[in-house]
């Protein structure tokens, strides 16, 4: 029994399949399960492109979403062009739905900027990569990482706009957007398009304030101090101290206009260099005209007003729009100035359809004597503006074409005329013999002074005379005399005896005179008759006998 058992044991030693094989089997199963578990829970690998790998370490740097650890960087390599790094990060499986096409990755490092200090917690723990999930439904595994945290997270409600700027002004990412002094948004991205030479700024306006933006909103750069010397005088304008230091953008509705239509996400606006230029260019449409001046345009600047009888109807676009040679083919040299007349300023509505109407109006106006001139707007600064008005007795003209531009006829500017007039007046004044006049007038003054002195003396003596007692008694005596005179006159009257006597005497005299008359005649004819007496009267003879 035992013998056979021993033999069986002995025999089976090589053929029996030992239960010890369960151990490697179990190890294999556990290992396999672990590997499977690892693979099945292993999430996707995302490829992130960064400009630099500062703070990113393969195998160490974490990927977080909302501060929750969702993965780890697996490798950091230079990209093929060697101008950036490719970071591969393994995310957990649960993070896969976060990899929307508009998700954003950026490296969180300690940062100190105008908008504050951030990422201090990474000083000790090291940088990590932040994932901000987007809204898109599509999933992608390739992202280009941002260099710094986006100014606004992708899910923030609000309005994203593009501002275009072609006249300088610097804006930086993170600069505030303010509406009447309140911070309502930030500049998200800046970009300069070398081809069109315009700066493009992406701005974001946070949710409750995005309703403030409408088609009548205008944006201007509110950085720094604006000192402006123009036809309208001197203006000094500054914004808040913060924007003075860091710059920023302000916007507001156009004055005297209601809010316009709503704007959509991604609409673009012009970024004006300052607030004043908004008032100068509040309109989008305008008709361009070329104006050729025969005189100096000194003092005329771009943006100077174009006025019609004191009402602004447009602006000067440029004072050197064309090459001088293209304009001047003849003898006379004229300075080209490009102006713009805006229908919005003339009550026609700021729209494209009004442009033709403006053109027709101007063409008609030119036929009936409308001309452009240069006028002085500010004598202090010497700045000028273009004035349109109707003039009589001008040479007839029409809207002309010069170098492809419609050209408005001009007449010499008022400034030149004024100057000439002033010079003429001054010349006349110069020619006056003022010194002689002065000497004369001095003598006159001297004489009149003497006269006055004498007059004063006379007055004094007159006064003393008047105060004399005798003079005071004079009226009474005068009255008495008058009474006497009256009685005397009564005697002399026709009824009076004197008169009668007198008239009788006169009659006597007249009788006597009559009697004397032949005597006198005789004496006249024959003076010697007084001695010889009267000759005897001759007989009258008929004339025929003579």
């Amino acid at each position: 029994m035992s013998e056979s058992e021993a033999q069986v044991a002995n025999l089976n030693q090589k053929e029996q399949f030992s239960s010890i094989w369960l151990i490697p089997l179990i190890a294999l199963l556990i290992g396999g399960w672990m590997v499977y578990q690892h693979w099945s829970t292993q999430g996707p690998v995302v490829t992130l492109n960064f400009a630099t790998a500062t703070g990113i370490e393969a195998g160490k740097t974490r990927v977080k979403a909302l501060s929750v650890d969702i993965g780890k960087v697996e490798s950091v390599e230079l990209n093929r062009a060697r101008d950036g790094v490719v970071v591969k990060a393994r995310l957990s499986k649960s993070a896969e739905p976060l990899l929307n096409t508009d998700s954003q990755f950026w490296v969180v490092r300690p940062r100190i900027g105008t908008e504050g200090i951030s990422g201090l917690d990474t000083l000790l723990s090291g940088a990590y990569i932040q994932l901000e999930p987007g809204n898109s439904k599509e999933i992608t595994y390739r992202f280009s990482g941002l260099e710094s945290a986006p100014v606004t997270p992708p899910n923030t409600p609000g309005l994203r706009l593009t501002l275009m700027n072609d006249s300088g002004g610097t804006l930086y990412v993170g600069d505030p957007i303010s509406y009447r002094g309140f911070n309502v948004g930030r500049v998200e991205a800046t970009e300069f398009d070398a081809e069109t030479r315009t700066g493009r700024y992406q701005v974001f306006i946070n949710a409750p304030f995005d309703k403030l933006v409408n088609s009548n909103s205008r944006f201007w750069s509110s950085s720094g101090i604006n000192l402006d010397l123009s036809a309208e005088g001197v203006q000094l304008q500054t914004d808040s101290l913060a924007t003075l230091l860091s710059g920023g953008v302000s916007f507001d509705d156009l004055p005297d206009k209601g809010p316009g239509s709503e704007v959509a996400d991604g609409d673009s606006f012009k970024l004006h260099p300052n607030r004043k230029s908004i008032l100068e260019h509040p309109y989008r449409y305008g008709v361009k005209f070329l104006v050729l001046f025969d005189q100096s345009i000194r003092g005329l600047k771009a943006n100077a007003p174009v006025e019609f009888r004191g009402i602004r109807i447009g602006s000067v676009i440029s004072t050197t729009p064309l090459d001088m040679r293209t304009v001047n083919q003849g003898e006379d040299i004229r300075i080209p100035v490009m102006i713009k007349i805006e229908p919005g300023r003339m009550g026609l509505g700021d729209q494209r359809s009004a442009l033709d109407q403006i053109y027709i109006d101007i063409a008609r106006g030119v036929l009936s004597g409308m001309r452009a001139t240069l006028k002085t707007g500010n004598l202090l600064t010497g700045s000028t503006f273009v004035d349109l008005d109707f003039y009589d007795n001008v040479e007839p003209a029409i809207l002309d074409m010069t170098a492809g531009y419609t050209t408005l006829p001009t007449i010499p500017g008022s400034l030149e005329q004024l100057q000439q007039q002033v010079v003429a007046v001054l010349d006349k004044i110069n020619n006056l013999e003022i010194e002689a006049v002065l000497a004369e007038s001095k003598a006159s003054v001297e004489q009149s002074r003497k006269l006055l002195q004498q007059l004063e003396k006379t007055t004094l003596s007159l006064n003393s005379l008047l105060n004399d007692e005798a003079l005071k008694a004079l009226p009474e005596e005068l009255a008495r005399t008058l009474v006497e005179t009256r009685t005397t006159l009564r005697d002399l009257s026709a009824d009076g005896p004197i008169y009668r006597d007198f008239s009788r005497t006169l009659k006597d005299i007249s009788k006597t005179m009559n009697g004397l008359d032949p005597v006198l005649k005789t004496i006249e004819e024959k003076p010697d008759s007084l001695i010889f007496g009267k000759p005897p009267a001759q007989d009258p003879l008929p004339e025929a006998a003579q």
Binding site: Q7, N10, L11, S18, I20, I23, P24, G31
Partner: protein, 214 residues
Amino acid sequence: MQTESSFPKDSAAAQGLLCCHSCGRLSPQDTLRCPRCQSRLHIRKPASLQRTFALLITSILLYIPANVLPIMNTEFLGQQQLSTILGGVLLLWEHGSYPIALVIFIASVLVPMAKIFALCWLCFTVSRGHNRPKHLTRLYLLTELVGRWSMVDVFVVAILVALIQLGALMSIYPGAAALAFAGVVILTMLAAMSFDPRLIWDVTENSTRDTDRT
């Protein structure tokens, strides 16, 4: 039966005797239990080659995670640093600590691998009946000698984990590889124990006898 031919003539088995594994008492082959210590008696260790093989394969399986997974997790000022065995060796070597790097390399890479390969070689040659007794004997002795040093790495981790616990400043935690490595060491020890060295000579003497015959 064939038992006669499978053991060398001068061995105890060939003479109808067997040796107790525990106390070494010789008993007749028909005895089931040792009359002295009552343990079960076998002519040779039962399924020795199979057991050794199985344990070796398990240890090889465990050796993969032991090297791939981090053995130590160092947290220094909030920064985690995971280190594998080979990574630690390389790090020490780069830092210029050549002796320590060598010690760790020998203890945790060279020795277990040498042991696994040696045992594999022994099992393989024995099962195929190769005839190199002296060589194999020396290999077996070497395995026995070297095996007891292979736990150094586990000890190092255990000591560091126990010593360095400074909270947020610096802490060291054992990684999954430490467990796997301990498993490797234990399994190779068990494999070495389950290997019956007499099989070497059984085969050798068999073959020498066979060659004598022919």
